[in-house]
Symmetry: C2
Subunit: 188 residues, 2 copies
DNA sequence: GTATCAGTAGAGCGTTCTTTTCAGCCTGGA
DNA sequence: TCCAGGCTGAAAAGAACGCTCTACTGATAC
Protein backbone atom coordinates (compact mmCIF):
# COMPACT_ATOMS: atom_id res chain seq x y z
CA UNK A 1 0.00 0.00 0.00
CA UNK A 2 1.55 3.30 -1.09
CA UNK A 3 2.10 6.10 1.36
CA UNK A 4 -0.84 8.29 2.29
CA UNK A 5 0.26 11.33 0.37
CA UNK A 6 0.71 9.26 -2.76
CA UNK A 7 -2.74 7.68 -2.41
CA UNK A 8 -4.30 11.10 -2.01
CA UNK A 9 -2.64 12.40 -5.17
CA UNK A 10 -3.73 9.37 -7.13
CA UNK A 11 -7.32 9.68 -5.97
CA UNK A 12 -7.44 13.41 -6.64
CA UNK A 13 -5.94 12.92 -10.08
CA UNK A 14 -8.32 10.17 -11.11
CA UNK A 15 -11.44 11.82 -9.71
CA UNK A 16 -10.75 15.24 -11.18
CA UNK A 17 -9.87 13.64 -14.49
CA UNK A 18 -13.36 12.16 -14.55
CA UNK A 19 -15.50 14.73 -12.79
CA UNK A 20 -13.59 17.97 -13.03
CA UNK A 21 -12.71 20.44 -10.32
CA UNK A 22 -16.18 21.39 -9.12
CA UNK A 23 -17.55 17.89 -9.49
CA UNK A 24 -14.99 16.43 -7.12
CA UNK A 25 -15.31 16.90 -3.38
CA UNK A 26 -12.44 16.73 -0.92
CA UNK A 27 -14.41 14.29 1.17
CA UNK A 28 -14.77 12.06 -1.85
CA UNK A 29 -11.04 12.24 -2.49
CA UNK A 30 -10.26 11.30 1.09
CA UNK A 31 -12.62 8.32 0.94
CA UNK A 32 -11.28 7.09 -2.40
CA UNK A 33 -7.73 7.44 -1.06
CA UNK A 34 -8.62 5.68 2.18
CA UNK A 35 -7.31 8.67 4.09
CA UNK A 36 -9.06 10.97 6.48
CA UNK A 37 -9.90 14.59 5.94
CA UNK A 38 -7.23 15.48 8.47
CA UNK A 39 -4.58 13.74 6.43
CA UNK A 40 -5.64 15.48 3.28
CA UNK A 41 -5.34 18.91 4.87
CA UNK A 42 -2.12 17.90 6.54
CA UNK A 43 -0.45 17.14 3.22
CA UNK A 44 -2.24 19.83 1.24
CA UNK A 45 -2.78 22.84 3.49
CA UNK A 46 -3.59 24.87 0.39
CA UNK A 47 -6.88 23.00 0.19
CA UNK A 48 -8.67 22.09 -2.98
CA UNK A 49 -6.59 24.28 -5.26
CA UNK A 50 -3.32 22.77 -4.11
CA UNK A 51 -4.88 19.35 -4.54
CA UNK A 52 -5.88 20.23 -8.08
CA UNK A 53 -2.38 21.45 -8.90
CA UNK A 54 -0.91 18.19 -7.62
CA UNK A 55 -3.48 16.24 -9.66
CA UNK A 56 -2.61 18.17 -12.80
CA UNK A 57 1.10 17.69 -12.24
CA UNK A 58 0.51 13.95 -11.86
CA UNK A 59 -1.71 13.84 -14.95
CA UNK A 60 0.93 15.74 -16.85
CA UNK A 61 3.57 13.13 -16.01
CA UNK A 62 1.23 10.29 -16.92
CA UNK A 63 0.49 11.68 -20.34
CA UNK A 64 4.17 12.36 -20.96
CA UNK A 65 4.76 8.64 -20.52
CA UNK A 66 1.88 7.72 -22.83
CA UNK A 67 3.19 10.15 -25.41
CA UNK A 68 6.78 8.91 -25.25
CA UNK A 69 5.74 5.28 -25.37
CA UNK A 70 3.43 5.81 -28.34
CA UNK A 71 5.89 7.92 -30.33
CA UNK A 72 8.61 5.34 -29.73
CA UNK A 73 6.34 2.68 -31.21
CA UNK A 74 7.67 3.14 -34.74
CA UNK A 75 10.77 4.73 -36.26
CA UNK A 76 8.59 6.68 -38.66
CA UNK A 77 6.68 9.38 -36.75
CA UNK A 78 3.84 9.21 -39.25
CA UNK A 79 3.30 5.62 -38.26
CA UNK A 80 4.10 6.19 -34.59
CA UNK A 81 1.17 8.54 -34.24
CA UNK A 82 -1.14 5.71 -35.28
CA UNK A 83 0.35 3.52 -32.57
CA UNK A 84 -0.26 6.36 -30.15
CA UNK A 85 -3.94 6.72 -31.02
CA UNK A 86 -4.38 2.97 -30.78
CA UNK A 87 -2.94 3.03 -27.28
CA UNK A 88 -5.29 5.85 -26.34
CA UNK A 89 -8.27 3.90 -27.66
CA UNK A 90 -7.23 0.89 -25.65
CA UNK A 91 -7.00 2.63 -22.30
CA UNK A 92 -10.11 4.64 -23.04
CA UNK A 93 -12.12 1.51 -23.77
CA UNK A 94 -10.67 -0.23 -20.71
CA UNK A 95 -12.16 2.51 -18.53
CA UNK A 96 -15.52 2.36 -20.33
CA UNK A 97 -14.72 5.71 -22.02
CA UNK A 98 -14.47 7.55 -18.73
CA UNK A 99 -10.73 8.15 -18.30
CA UNK A 100 -9.81 10.61 -21.01
CA UNK A 101 -7.06 13.18 -20.91
CA UNK A 102 -5.88 13.45 -17.31
CA UNK A 103 -6.07 17.23 -17.11
CA UNK A 104 -8.53 18.52 -19.70
CA UNK A 105 -11.67 18.26 -17.60
CA UNK A 106 -10.04 20.00 -14.65
CA UNK A 107 -8.53 22.70 -16.80
CA UNK A 108 -11.60 23.38 -18.92
CA UNK A 109 -13.93 23.77 -15.96
CA UNK A 110 -11.70 26.36 -14.33
CA UNK A 111 -10.65 28.46 -17.33
CA UNK A 112 -10.78 32.14 -16.51
CA UNK A 113 -11.57 31.46 -12.86
CA UNK A 114 -8.53 29.78 -11.28
CA UNK A 115 -5.41 31.18 -12.98
CA UNK A 116 -2.97 28.90 -11.17
CA UNK A 117 -4.69 25.79 -12.44
CA UNK A 118 -5.03 27.21 -15.90
CA UNK A 119 -1.36 28.08 -16.21
CA UNK A 120 -0.32 24.69 -14.86
CA UNK A 121 -2.44 23.11 -17.56
CA UNK A 122 -0.98 25.43 -20.18
CA UNK A 123 2.51 24.37 -19.10
CA UNK A 124 1.53 20.71 -19.46
CA UNK A 125 0.21 21.27 -22.97
CA UNK A 126 3.43 23.07 -23.89
CA UNK A 127 5.51 20.20 -22.53
CA UNK A 128 3.52 17.67 -24.57
CA UNK A 129 3.96 19.73 -27.70
CA UNK A 130 7.68 19.81 -26.95
CA UNK A 131 7.84 16.03 -26.92
CA UNK A 132 6.11 15.78 -30.30
CA UNK A 133 8.30 18.58 -31.61
CA UNK A 134 11.50 16.79 -30.59
CA UNK A 135 10.34 13.56 -32.17
CA UNK A 136 9.54 15.27 -35.49
CA UNK A 137 12.78 17.20 -35.48
CA UNK A 138 14.91 14.09 -35.12
CA UNK A 139 13.05 12.56 -38.06
CA UNK A 140 14.09 15.34 -40.35
CA UNK A 141 11.07 17.63 -40.28
CA UNK A 142 12.02 21.32 -40.45
CA UNK A 143 11.92 23.31 -37.26
CA UNK A 144 9.05 25.60 -38.18
CA UNK A 145 6.95 22.78 -39.63
CA UNK A 146 7.66 20.61 -36.62
CA UNK A 147 6.52 23.31 -34.25
CA UNK A 148 3.24 23.79 -36.10
CA UNK A 149 2.68 20.05 -36.43
CA UNK A 150 3.23 19.60 -32.72
CA UNK A 151 0.43 22.04 -32.09
CA UNK A 152 -1.99 20.20 -34.33
CA UNK A 153 -1.01 16.74 -33.13
CA UNK A 154 -1.76 17.64 -29.53
CA UNK A 155 -4.91 19.61 -30.38
CA UNK A 156 -6.29 16.83 -32.55
CA UNK A 157 -5.48 14.14 -30.02
CA UNK A 158 -7.25 16.15 -27.35
CA UNK A 159 -10.28 16.79 -29.49
CA UNK A 160 -10.51 13.23 -30.77
CA UNK A 161 -10.21 11.78 -27.30
CA UNK A 162 -12.95 14.12 -26.15
CA UNK A 163 -15.18 13.15 -29.07
CA UNK A 164 -14.48 9.48 -28.44
CA UNK A 165 -15.54 9.81 -24.83
CA UNK A 166 -18.72 11.71 -25.57
CA UNK A 167 -19.82 9.36 -28.33
CA UNK A 168 -18.43 6.25 -26.65
CA UNK A 169 -16.73 5.24 -29.87
CA UNK A 170 -13.19 4.56 -30.98
CA UNK A 171 -13.91 6.08 -34.37
CA UNK A 172 -12.82 9.69 -33.74
CA UNK A 173 -9.42 8.60 -32.43
CA UNK A 174 -8.83 6.04 -35.18
CA UNK A 175 -9.65 8.53 -37.91
CA UNK A 176 -7.55 11.19 -36.20
CA UNK A 177 -4.60 8.81 -36.17
CA UNK A 178 -4.91 8.18 -39.90
CA UNK A 179 -5.21 11.85 -40.76
CA UNK A 180 -2.39 12.98 -38.50
CA UNK A 181 -0.24 10.29 -40.09
CA UNK A 182 -1.07 11.56 -43.56
CA UNK A 183 -0.43 15.13 -42.50
CA UNK A 184 2.97 14.35 -41.01
CA UNK A 185 3.95 12.27 -44.02
CA UNK A 186 3.14 15.21 -46.29
CA UNK A 187 5.94 17.19 -44.64
CA UNK A 188 8.74 14.78 -45.33
CA UNK B 1 -36.45 42.09 -22.79
CA UNK B 2 -36.93 38.49 -23.87
CA UNK B 3 -39.41 36.25 -22.13
CA UNK B 4 -38.41 34.64 -18.86
CA UNK B 5 -37.98 31.14 -20.20
CA UNK B 6 -35.71 32.43 -22.95
CA UNK B 7 -33.58 34.40 -20.49
CA UNK B 8 -33.19 31.34 -18.31
CA UNK B 9 -32.03 29.20 -21.22
CA UNK B 10 -29.52 31.83 -22.30
CA UNK B 11 -28.10 32.18 -18.81
CA UNK B 12 -27.89 28.43 -18.29
CA UNK B 13 -26.21 27.97 -21.65
CA UNK B 14 -23.62 30.66 -21.13
CA UNK B 15 -22.81 29.73 -17.54
CA UNK B 16 -22.50 26.01 -18.18
CA UNK B 17 -20.40 26.74 -21.25
CA UNK B 18 -17.94 28.52 -18.99
CA UNK B 19 -18.15 26.65 -15.71
CA UNK B 20 -19.53 23.26 -16.57
CA UNK B 21 -22.40 21.37 -15.00
CA UNK B 22 -21.15 21.09 -11.44
CA UNK B 23 -19.64 24.55 -11.41
CA UNK B 24 -22.93 26.21 -12.23
CA UNK B 25 -25.61 26.62 -9.57
CA UNK B 26 -29.29 27.02 -10.27
CA UNK B 27 -29.33 30.06 -8.04
CA UNK B 28 -26.58 31.59 -10.14
CA UNK B 29 -28.56 30.86 -13.28
CA UNK B 30 -31.67 32.49 -11.86
CA UNK B 31 -29.72 35.58 -10.86
CA UNK B 32 -27.96 35.90 -14.20
CA UNK B 33 -31.31 35.47 -15.97
CA UNK B 34 -33.03 37.97 -13.67
CA UNK B 35 -35.61 35.38 -12.82
CA UNK B 36 -36.52 33.87 -9.51
CA UNK B 37 -35.91 30.34 -8.40
CA UNK B 38 -39.64 29.71 -8.59
CA UNK B 39 -39.67 30.68 -12.24
CA UNK B 40 -36.78 28.41 -13.02
CA UNK B 41 -38.49 25.41 -11.48
CA UNK B 42 -41.75 26.39 -13.08
CA UNK B 43 -40.25 26.24 -16.56
CA UNK B 44 -37.84 23.39 -15.85
CA UNK B 45 -39.47 21.06 -13.35
CA UNK B 46 -36.83 18.49 -14.21
CA UNK B 47 -34.33 20.62 -12.31
CA UNK B 48 -30.69 20.98 -13.16
CA UNK B 49 -30.57 18.11 -15.63
CA UNK B 50 -33.43 19.49 -17.71
CA UNK B 51 -31.72 22.88 -17.58
CA UNK B 52 -28.50 21.33 -18.83
CA UNK B 53 -30.28 19.60 -21.69
CA UNK B 54 -31.86 22.89 -22.74
CA UNK B 55 -28.47 24.59 -22.51
CA UNK B 56 -26.86 21.93 -24.67
CA UNK B 57 -29.63 22.13 -27.22
CA UNK B 58 -29.15 25.89 -27.38
CA UNK B 59 -25.39 25.56 -27.65
CA UNK B 60 -25.84 23.00 -30.38
CA UNK B 61 -27.92 25.44 -32.44
CA UNK B 62 -25.41 28.24 -31.86
CA UNK B 63 -22.50 26.19 -33.10
CA UNK B 64 -24.49 25.00 -36.11
CA UNK B 65 -24.82 28.64 -37.13
CA UNK B 66 -21.12 29.32 -36.58
CA UNK B 67 -20.26 26.24 -38.61
CA UNK B 68 -22.59 27.09 -41.50
CA UNK B 69 -21.44 30.70 -41.61
CA UNK B 70 -17.77 29.76 -41.57
CA UNK B 71 -18.06 27.01 -44.17
CA UNK B 72 -20.01 29.35 -46.43
CA UNK B 73 -17.14 31.84 -46.26
CA UNK B 74 -15.39 30.44 -49.31
CA UNK B 75 -16.43 28.24 -52.23
CA UNK B 76 -13.40 26.04 -51.63
CA UNK B 77 -13.90 24.06 -48.40
CA UNK B 78 -10.14 23.94 -47.84
CA UNK B 79 -10.16 27.72 -47.62
CA UNK B 80 -13.52 27.91 -45.85
CA UNK B 81 -12.12 26.01 -42.89
CA UNK B 82 -9.54 28.75 -42.43
CA UNK B 83 -12.32 31.34 -42.36
CA UNK B 84 -14.05 29.20 -39.77
CA UNK B 85 -11.06 29.04 -37.45
CA UNK B 86 -10.56 32.77 -37.82
CA UNK B 87 -14.13 33.35 -36.73
CA UNK B 88 -13.62 31.09 -33.75
CA UNK B 89 -10.48 32.99 -32.74
CA UNK B 90 -12.35 36.25 -32.96
CA UNK B 91 -15.22 35.30 -30.69
CA UNK B 92 -12.84 33.54 -28.33
CA UNK B 93 -10.66 36.60 -27.98
CA UNK B 94 -13.72 38.83 -27.58
CA UNK B 95 -14.72 36.84 -24.50
CA UNK B 96 -11.18 36.91 -23.09
CA UNK B 97 -10.80 33.22 -23.96
CA UNK B 98 -13.58 31.98 -21.70
CA UNK B 99 -16.41 31.26 -24.16
CA UNK B 100 -15.22 28.18 -25.99
CA UNK B 101 -17.33 25.41 -27.42
CA UNK B 102 -20.84 25.83 -26.01
CA UNK B 103 -21.27 22.24 -24.92
CA UNK B 104 -17.84 20.69 -24.37
CA UNK B 105 -17.37 21.74 -20.77
CA UNK B 106 -20.83 20.55 -19.78
CA UNK B 107 -20.46 17.27 -21.64
CA UNK B 108 -16.95 16.47 -20.46
CA UNK B 109 -17.72 17.01 -16.81
CA UNK B 110 -20.67 14.63 -16.89
CA UNK B 111 -19.30 11.82 -19.06
CA UNK B 112 -20.21 8.45 -17.61
CA UNK B 113 -22.36 10.02 -14.92
CA UNK B 114 -25.34 11.68 -16.63
CA UNK B 115 -26.22 9.60 -19.70
CA UNK B 116 -28.96 11.94 -20.96
CA UNK B 117 -26.57 14.85 -21.15
CA UNK B 118 -23.87 12.73 -22.71
CA UNK B 119 -26.14 11.44 -25.47
CA UNK B 120 -27.47 14.92 -26.16
CA UNK B 121 -23.88 16.07 -26.60
CA UNK B 122 -23.10 13.08 -28.79
CA UNK B 123 -26.08 13.98 -31.00
CA UNK B 124 -24.80 17.53 -31.30
CA UNK B 125 -21.33 16.34 -32.33
CA UNK B 126 -22.91 14.06 -34.92
CA UNK B 127 -24.99 16.91 -36.31
CA UNK B 128 -21.90 19.11 -36.62
CA UNK B 129 -20.04 16.35 -38.45
CA UNK B 130 -23.05 16.07 -40.74
CA UNK B 131 -22.76 19.71 -41.72
CA UNK B 132 -19.07 19.37 -42.56
CA UNK B 133 -19.80 16.13 -44.38
CA UNK B 134 -22.45 17.76 -46.58
CA UNK B 135 -20.16 20.67 -47.39
CA UNK B 136 -17.33 18.34 -48.44
CA UNK B 137 -19.64 16.11 -50.45
CA UNK B 138 -20.95 19.00 -52.54
CA UNK B 139 -17.37 20.00 -53.28
CA UNK B 140 -16.60 16.68 -54.88
CA UNK B 141 -14.95 14.80 -52.02
CA UNK B 142 -15.83 11.11 -52.02
CA UNK B 143 -18.38 9.90 -49.54
CA UNK B 144 -16.04 7.77 -47.43
CA UNK B 145 -13.29 10.39 -47.37
CA UNK B 146 -15.80 13.11 -46.53
CA UNK B 147 -17.14 11.13 -43.60
CA UNK B 148 -13.66 10.62 -42.17
CA UNK B 149 -12.65 14.21 -42.79
CA UNK B 150 -15.76 15.44 -41.02
CA UNK B 151 -14.69 13.50 -37.95
CA UNK B 152 -11.24 15.03 -37.93
CA UNK B 153 -12.41 18.55 -38.71
CA UNK B 154 -14.74 18.58 -35.71
CA UNK B 155 -12.26 16.81 -33.43
CA UNK B 156 -9.44 19.14 -34.34
CA UNK B 157 -11.57 22.26 -34.00
CA UNK B 158 -12.67 21.09 -30.55
CA UNK B 159 -9.14 20.31 -29.45
CA UNK B 160 -7.66 23.48 -30.87
CA UNK B 161 -10.33 25.65 -29.27
CA UNK B 162 -9.66 23.94 -25.98
CA UNK B 163 -5.91 24.44 -26.31
CA UNK B 164 -6.44 28.07 -27.28
CA UNK B 165 -8.52 28.68 -24.18
CA UNK B 166 -6.10 27.00 -21.81
CA UNK B 167 -3.05 28.78 -23.21
CA UNK B 168 -4.89 32.03 -23.93
CA UNK B 169 -3.47 32.09 -27.41
CA UNK B 170 -4.86 32.13 -30.93
CA UNK B 171 -2.02 29.98 -32.15
CA UNK B 172 -3.55 26.50 -31.76
CA UNK B 173 -6.63 27.49 -33.76
CA UNK B 174 -4.69 29.27 -36.47
CA UNK B 175 -2.35 26.34 -36.99
CA UNK B 176 -5.28 23.92 -36.92
CA UNK B 177 -6.95 25.92 -39.67
CA UNK B 178 -3.88 25.71 -41.86
CA UNK B 179 -3.42 22.00 -41.34
CA UNK B 180 -7.07 21.12 -41.82
CA UNK B 181 -6.99 23.14 -45.00
CA UNK B 182 -3.96 21.21 -46.25
CA UNK B 183 -5.55 17.92 -45.28
CA UNK B 184 -8.80 18.67 -47.10
CA UNK B 185 -6.94 19.89 -50.17
CA UNK B 186 -5.02 16.63 -50.30
CA UNK B 187 -8.28 14.76 -50.94
CA UNK B 188 -9.28 16.65 -54.08
C1' DG C 1 11.93 7.99 30.36
C1' DT C 2 10.57 11.83 28.13
C1' DA C 3 10.26 15.32 24.51
C1' DT C 4 9.19 15.93 19.82
C1' DC C 5 6.80 15.73 15.72
C1' DA C 6 4.73 13.73 11.52
C1' DG C 7 0.63 11.77 10.68
C1' DT C 8 -4.30 10.08 11.76
C1' DA C 9 -8.99 10.67 13.22
C1' DG C 10 -13.32 12.85 12.98
C1' DA C 11 -16.62 16.30 15.01
C1' DG C 12 -18.35 20.48 13.67
C1' DC C 13 -18.13 25.44 11.78
C1' DG C 14 -20.54 28.45 8.44
C1' DT C 15 -21.95 28.46 3.90
C1' DT C 16 -24.03 26.98 -0.22
C1' DC C 17 -26.36 23.57 -2.79
C1' DT C 18 -30.83 21.54 -5.04
C1' DT C 19 -35.34 21.13 -4.46
C1' DT C 20 -40.06 21.93 -2.61
C1' DT C 21 -43.74 24.71 -1.24
C1' DC C 22 -47.20 28.08 -1.48
C1' DA C 23 -49.35 32.55 -1.24
C1' DG C 24 -49.96 36.22 -4.21
C1' DC C 25 -49.79 38.79 -8.67
C1' DC C 26 -50.88 39.62 -13.20
C1' DT C 27 -53.54 39.03 -17.56
C1' DG C 28 -56.53 37.23 -21.23
C1' DG C 29 -60.98 35.47 -22.19
C1' DA C 30 -65.89 35.02 -20.82
C1' DT D 1 -66.34 42.56 -14.03
C1' DC D 2 -64.78 38.31 -12.73
C1' DC D 3 -61.98 34.45 -12.53
C1' DA D 4 -58.84 30.70 -13.88
C1' DG D 5 -54.32 29.70 -14.66
C1' DG D 6 -49.73 31.02 -15.90
C1' DC D 7 -46.15 33.02 -13.59
C1' DT D 8 -43.53 35.27 -9.74
C1' DG D 9 -41.63 35.96 -5.23
C1' DA D 10 -39.85 34.44 -0.93
C1' DA D 11 -38.86 31.13 2.40
C1' DA D 12 -37.10 26.98 4.10
C1' DA D 13 -35.88 21.92 4.37
C1' DG D 14 -32.28 18.81 4.10
C1' DA D 15 -28.00 17.54 2.31
C1' DA D 16 -23.34 18.54 0.84
C1' DC D 17 -19.71 21.73 0.49
C1' DG D 18 -14.70 23.48 1.93
C1' DC D 19 -12.29 24.08 5.77
C1' DT D 20 -10.80 24.40 10.85
C1' DC D 21 -10.10 22.54 15.02
C1' DT D 22 -8.60 19.57 18.87
C1' DA D 23 -7.31 15.11 20.41
C1' DC D 24 -4.84 11.11 19.63
C1' DT D 25 -1.19 7.62 17.96
C1' DG D 26 3.32 5.86 17.14
C1' DA D 27 7.99 6.29 16.03
C1' DT D 28 12.36 8.58 16.68
C1' DA D 29 15.99 11.44 19.34
C1' DC D 30 18.11 12.62 23.36
Amino acid sequence: MPATRERIIRAASRLMQRQGYDGTGIKQISQEARATLGSVYHFFPGGKQELALAAISRGDQEFVEVLRAGLAGDPDPARAVVVLTRNLVESLRASDWVDGCPITTTALGTVGRLPDIQSAAADAFARWRGIVFDRLLESGVGESDARDLAHTVISTLEGAELAAQVSRSSRPLEVAGQHLSRLIASYR
